[in-house]
Symmetry: C7
Subunit: 99 residues, 7 copies
């Protein structure tokens, strides 16, 4: 799926394919239902070029295509491509890379 993806996110944005809780994921992490700000898992499909700093440099992106990541549930914007659920979010809404 990642090969065919046709979205090039801008600046520090990242396209993520949401991984459902019931799937097997690296690290065996199970997220609590009751968590106030429940994080979700997903696979990084596309990565922007990075935010421009006030000195004109771009901030290096800390995730790459193929990374499985934890992100805050309410971060980002939801889209659907051929019935698959994706999210586009700032890298700042990503908590950690798994595995």
């Amino acid at each position: 799926m990642a090969k065919e993806l046709k979205l090039k996110p801008l600046a520090d944005k990242v396209v993520i394919k949401v991984i459902e809780e019931t799937e097997s994921t690296p690290g065996g992490i199970i997220l609590p239902d009751s968590a106030r700000e429940k994080p979700q898992k997903g696979e990084v499909l596309a990565v922007g070029a990075g935010k421009v700093l006030e000195n004109g440099q771009r901030e290096e992106m800390e995730v790459k295509t193929g990374d499985v990541v934890l992100f805050t549930k309410y971060g980002g914007t939801e889209i659907k491509i051929e019935s698959e659920e994706y999210k586009i979010m700032s890298v700042r809404d990503i908590l950690a890379v798994i595995g």
Copy 2:
């Protein structure tokens, strides 16, 4: 239409022609009706010169005329030219370039 457009957006602003959901678009992306912050598709018609950074440089714009983009529905200001719907928004409200 793009050739005749007479709007020159300022700073990091972009003029976008909204593409209705029922039109065929690159990438075959279908946006969910129920998404909390539903993104929209559009074609970039005009691009500002870029925001001025605190060091006096202009930030390079990451979209160009002709790009088809996804943007957040509530971003930008709506205008109409000869019954066509346009939006003028900051490039920061654009999520990704399609295709």
Copy 3:
């Protein structure tokens, strides 16, 4: 009118003569009544020297006297000179130059 105007706006502020919707304007743009944040048209009558950046430079102003511009309706402060309506606003409230 522009020649006689006696207002010198400060920093990144701009003096604009509001153009009523029923007047003929460059580009034939008609603004929708129903737009949530309805933009207005106007002619730039005077332009400030530009905002001072944190490095001490002034940011170059992207509009000049005589430009016809689109701006957000709720931006700026309204004043009247001899029964004509003017607005003084930051250049950041200007969306685009028309024509």
Copy 4:
């Protein structure tokens, strides 16, 4: 009055003598009663040395003693000296110099 004034405003602050609407003023500007954020006229009596920028320079002040200015009504702090009304405000609350 300006000669005897004994207030030295700090940073980017300015002392202004409020000019009542019924007085004759340069430019013949009449301010609408109904304006949402009604601007006022006044004469600049004293000017601070300017805000310090993050690079340690002071931002040059764009008004000087004797200037007649338009400012936003709700900006600044009101004081009275011998029954005359004054305001002390940031230069950012000043819209334009008149005349």
Copy 5:
């Protein structure tokens, strides 16, 4: 009193002895009871070393011990030393030096 004061304010903070309205003060300024954000008078008793700017320099303080100043009534924190009322506030809450 100033000689014996034992408070060394931090950063851009200033210690001020509040001057009651009925006392004689330089400049003969009388503050209106009805002012929305009523300013107060006071004498500067101690001055911090200045705020550190993002370039590592300290911003020069524009008031010194002994200055009589106008400040906004709701700025700062009230303390009492031997039944005298003092305030500790940021220099940004000081409007002007009197006299």
Copy 6:
């Protein structure tokens, strides 16, 4: 447990294993039940590379794996791995290193 952890936090984020109040901890610190913003104890399991400053440098992280820290209870996002409770938070939500 720390050896097997498979989370690599981004930027200035830190993964922390929450230490229950009833466990023995370095420094014998007991946290009050009634504190308005009750801090918690935890062990640092993984540390991000640090926030990127506006000059392009990374800010050095002040905690390292194995540190026992105090952090504000409402900071960060809760996750569970094999029934153990973890938090991922900005280093800015960490108050102090214990011991």
Copy 7:
């Protein structure tokens, strides 16, 4: 007590032992019960290395271990060690050093 303290605060944070109002303190300062934002006294027990500025330098800390300080009552986070009350707060919540 200070010698045995085992808390190393991060960045611009400071650990403070709260001094009760009824104790004898340097400068004989008595704080009013009725003050809107009542300051408190305390002794500095530990000091962070200082906030990192956008140019990568650390801001020098203006307090040191042993200083008696005034701070705003609602600043910081409360902790208890062996029935003594401490606070951890940003140096920005400290008003002044006493004595």
